[in-house]
Symmetry: C2
Subunit: 473 residues, 2 copies
């Protein structure tokens, strides 16, 4: 296990800070959440481990879409009569409790949250502005860091981990283990991971951020290695790691590939999310204080990106996310130590709807036949002029064989229009390339899970994690 | 109380019927739901009263929209920091349990349910085709009626009631107290209400259906009066009714007006939904077997219509629905007898999203300022050519004062375009004039409410109601 982090940044006690803030910037909402936290501090830890599983961009409709896709794949001949959760349960159905969650940020300009503000709420229990990682704006306009449940758990001897399908320094994991005014400062986030917070498991994309200079010379990758981290760059290398800590960076730039593209490309060396989760819980179980368990943040991060891009493959991305939800419940059920698991989306993304333009019908066969995202298809179709060749690529990767002349012409000029063709044929729609403000479902399992059989705010996730681990925020 | 109904239509026992159906038309989904019912039959009634509250067309996003509108109305100066359920709770937050529900029908052509199939699932616990009221299609293509929880409760001496803001014979109430192959046969539904099922309370719209001929001469209204029903045609007349049974029909044609139009028109004589609920529970408490409680179906039915029409006033309609949800929980909490309450939408309608076209922002001030629906505004704007007059009507009823020349021109030619103007300014969108297939939230309160802290199918509503009343289906 890495040495416990020491921080040189100022970090006031959250109680003192919020007492000053209460009624001013943050108002009663934060204050009342704080009271919940204060109560939680009094209770002993009921769980050995706590896992937060965030599916970035997941609202109710993404979950439902994956439910129907799963039922269609499971038994197309009985579809939709096999969609009932009793008949074809999905990963989220396995949680023992569920409720809803408000997601609004404390932002001067926007009512809909971004992933940074939402993840700061999950990690630290405070509302903040869009773009903030692990901190809030002070009345003077400065940036005030707030401690995170991962940091508090680490200080108490728990092993800690961050797993994501996005860049490892992306907003959701970052808010659990770093503090920056602007989520765009990703090399600083990498530096804080390696030099300060030092989680036992870091798995994600964009190695580039960790090739930045470390404070004491060399790169952050060098510094990590010096601190005992094993570096993994492929699924096979991750599989071979026997002991924590591990720094797994599976792409040089950007995120891991989308699920469909990862799964259907035999050359792809990136681990799937389920493999990262398997490796992560395994390594964390042997890390940290032997009397303590672990805290793990898992993010399925690209449901959000598919939503921003209005890709119909958002449903496939959610399908992987839902499978991993089931995997995590199974882990919580079968591991020897009591494990608290909470899962939610940080916000919906794209304004996905299951139906469009009148018909009472979604064609799940169209979604099930898709083997590549628009991202990959755009590469495959780029520069292709021949109608035959266009049609053959589309047929091979989407199952669509009856393109109109107009669609072919459009694909020739704008390969990304495959998204529109698929969405229209599937009968799904998007209304924005941004996030939407609908309340998201929240799921919990393990000790005290029933606290989420309620309408809660997203700050409740931090409170529940802290209570489960018996740490204070 | 009316005399207990006798029916001349064939009505096989549901167990026998489903045993034959199992594995064939309906398959495992229905069979497994049936097992749940069989278990429920063994338990004694834990509740004196059971209330089902259906908000037609309500998905998660409608609920969230009303939550934000409510928080905005409550304290605009603290918005959105007052949106947390702990800070500004809504009617649905008050329920002790919540979960999600699949809504798909058993339909040869459509994967998305209509209100008739969904209401039949709620009332009788079976999947059926879109358009069916209280029955299923047999393998031979005939129509096979299935008993409803309202009928079974009535046969056991419970008082029963139907309350809706739609036509009294509309699909949702009809499926609890009538059996027709096609929901369009509304005079037959009225006939079955009055001559067969005879609920103690019937409140809704479209008196015309009850002016049809009764079997023994005269109209159905006459027949109802002969059976002891008091007839009410206005809110004031309803208020004056002292004893059940009551037949309240508050419009000659069509539904009750939308909430905004009802509330803001001083000439309007229709009761609001909260007044119908107050009168209903009051009258039901004194009806039926004095040792038994009541079963009541309440529907807020026009969230659906606003969704079909893509009216931004769908949010206001949901606002009334959410207020009534709180009223019902309060009733369940304060009434002397244990009362089981379940509430859900039958499906989402319109594909509403809170956000559109990129911005992370919904302008709730625009929604809060609206004082008339598009339906009413279309009447007010019809034939108006003067720009000044158009602008003045729009300003008075929506608060919008800065119409563009293009918008004025559009309103002159198509007054209904006020919907688009409002939706764009509010930052909300719709994707269809039909229903969508997303799972809907379900809420429960009272004895055994926690059975809904789960992912369920819509047939579970019938099972829960039957179990609460100790009747078999
Ligand atoms: Zn996003
Ligand atoms: Zn409808």
């Amino acid at each position: 296990m890495p040495t416990p982090h020491t921080t040189e940044s100022p970090s006031v006690d959250r109680r003192t800070f919020l007492a000053g803030l209460s009624g001013a910037v943050a108002g009663g909402a934060v204050a009342s959440q704080f009271q919940t936290t204060a109560r939680a501090q009094a209770t002993a830890s009921p769980a050995a481990n706590a896992i937060a599983y965030i599916v970035d961009g997941m609202g109710q409709t993404q979950i439902s879409a994956a439910r129907y896709l799963n039922a269609y794949k499971t038994a197309p001949e009985r579809f939709p009569l096999n969609v009932s959760p009793a008949e074809t349960p999905t990963g989220f159905d396995a949680f023992s409790s569920r409720g809803s969650m408000t997601t609004f940020p404390d932002d001067p300009y926007e009512t809909t949250t971004d992933s940074a503000a939402a993840a700061t709420a999950f990690a630290s229990g405070v509302k903040t502005y869009n773009g903030a990682i692990g901190g809030v704006q002070t009345s003077g306009g400065g940036f005030q860091r707030v401690d995170t449940v991962l940091e508090r758990a680490s200080a108490q001897g728990y092993a800690t981990g961050l797993i994501t399908t996005t860049e490892a320094t992306h907003a959701t994991p970052a808010a659990f283990a770093a503090h920056v005014e602007d989520r765009g400062n990703q090399t600083e986030i990498a530096r804080q991971y390696i030099e300060e917070t030092q989680p036992d498991v870091i798995l994600g994309g964009q190695r580039r951020d960790f090739e930045a200079d470390a404070s004491n010379g060399g790169t952050l990758v060098d510094a990590a290695r010096d601190n005992g981290y094993t570096i993994a760059e492929t699924a096979a290398e991750l599989d071979a790691v026997d002991d924590p800590p591990v720094l797994g960076l599976f792409s040089q730039e950007s995120h891991l590939d989308y699920y469909l593209d990862r799964k259907n490309d035999p050359e792809n060396t990136q681990p799937n999310l389920d493999a990262m989760v398997d490796a992560g819980v395994d390594l964390l179980s042997s890390a940290g204080d032997p009397d303590k368990g672990f805290f793990l943040l898992v993010e399925s991060g690209r449901v959000d990106h598919a939503g921003h891009a209005n890709y119909p493959a958002q449903v496939a991305e959610q399908y992987e996310a839902t499978q991993v939800a089931g995997q995590l419940v199974e882990y919580a059920e079968t591991t020897a130590e009591p494990t608290f698991l909470v899962s939610t989306g940080d916000h919906e993304c794209g304004g996905l709807t299951l139906g469009r333009d009148s018909p009472y019908e979604v064609e799940y066969d169209v979604l099930a036949a898709q083997k590549a995202t628009t991202s990959r298809l755009r590469d495959l179709l780029a520069g292709v002029r021949s109608a035959d060749e266009l049609e053959s690529i589309v047929a091979a990767h989407t199952g669509i064989t009856a393109l109109t002349d107009r669609e072919v012409a459009k694909l020739r000029d704008a390969p990304g229009s495959i998204s529109t063709i698929l969405a229209e044929r599937a009968g799904i729609a998007f209304t924005t390339d941004g996030h939407t403000g609908t309340d998201v479902p929240v799921f919990a399992h393990g000790p005290n899970a029933a606290r989420f059989d309620a309408a809660r705010d997203n700050t409740a996730v931090a409170d529940a994690l802290a209570a489960a681990l018996g740490v204070s925020l």
